[in-house]
């Protein structure tokens, strides 16, 4: 198992990079939120891997807080998207560059 840790870290790096690329590339705000979730999950995988490497339970405990922050972020982000779509149906990230509603 220990020899798999570098591969786990490489996988999480790849997931993070793919998520970052999607966040920069896509313009649909819903897909952008999904890409942020992808990046958060890559970081979760890194936390668990380092927690196992260092034999430290804090690596798993902090994943809880990441989960809660991710849930709160999705709730607020989707609220913003719904509020904006009520004003401008079919709005993309380019249309909402000015936060005046």
């Amino acid at each position: 198992m220990t020899q798999l840790y570098p591969a786990m870290l490489g996988l999480s790096a790849a997931l993070f990079a793919i998520g970052a690329m999607g966040l920069l590339r896509r313009r649909n705000p819903l897909v952008m939120i999904m890409c942020v979730e992808l990046m958060l999950n890559a970081v979760n995988l890194t936390f668990v891997t380092f927690g196992n490497m260092l034999n430290d339970a804090a690596g798993q405990a902090i994943v809880f807080f990441v989960l809660v922050v991710a849930a709160a972020e999705v709730v607020v982000g989707l609220g913003i998207i719904v509020a904006i779509s009520r004003r401008k149906p079919g709005a993309t990230a380019d249309d909402i560059s000015v936060l005046r509603g």
């Binding site: 339970a57 809660v68 709160a72």
Partner: protein, 231 residues
Amino acid sequence: MVNLIVFFVCAIICILGATGVVFSRNPVHSALSLVATLFGIAVLFVQMAAQFLAAVQVIVYTGAIVVLILFVIMLLGVDKEEDIDDEPLAGQRVSAYIVAGVTIVGLVVLLGLAGFNDANSNQRTGWGASTAALVTGDKSVTAPLSTSLATTRRGDVVENADPDNIKTLGRLLFTKYVFAFEVTGLLLTIAVVGAVVMARRPTDLVPQPDEPASMDDDFMADVEAESSGAH
């Protein structure tokens, strides 16, 4: 050997799901690809003896967050193909690829440095430990993972896979990290209040002259027309 096979299958599922999230033209397909990625990561959590986190991952992420995203997709009616080749901002795609490449190279170098050094050093002393500490910071164990995992790390026994995972985590959350736990509750309350405030139908919304009536009004007009037409 089994570990290796499980890892490779999950890694392939994760990478394919992640590329599906980014490159799907349909947001619903993106959400379903995200589910695949989250399941792969959950299996990797099980592999690393974090069973409780794997369960929480499946329940919270795929059960709550992705379903919420799907609800909003259906509510807004954006579940149709979109043109992702359209590029209003010149050079956006190329710069996204460049940023992704730089990110993955940097992270692989950094994490690989820590990972390889730690995998090579079984004891937590010596050169490998100090180099890993260079990346992850000084080692200060808050609470060790269970002893069975420690024996697994030394390569003695592999059989009993960490029965006290939940107990260790719960004790840590309610003793050392209790303040962070309470702040987390506060954060969730603020998020709920904020979501309610933002998703509320605005009462003081003056219709602007240059835009047509809002989507809700159209929808209600359609409903009324249908109901009156039926009778």
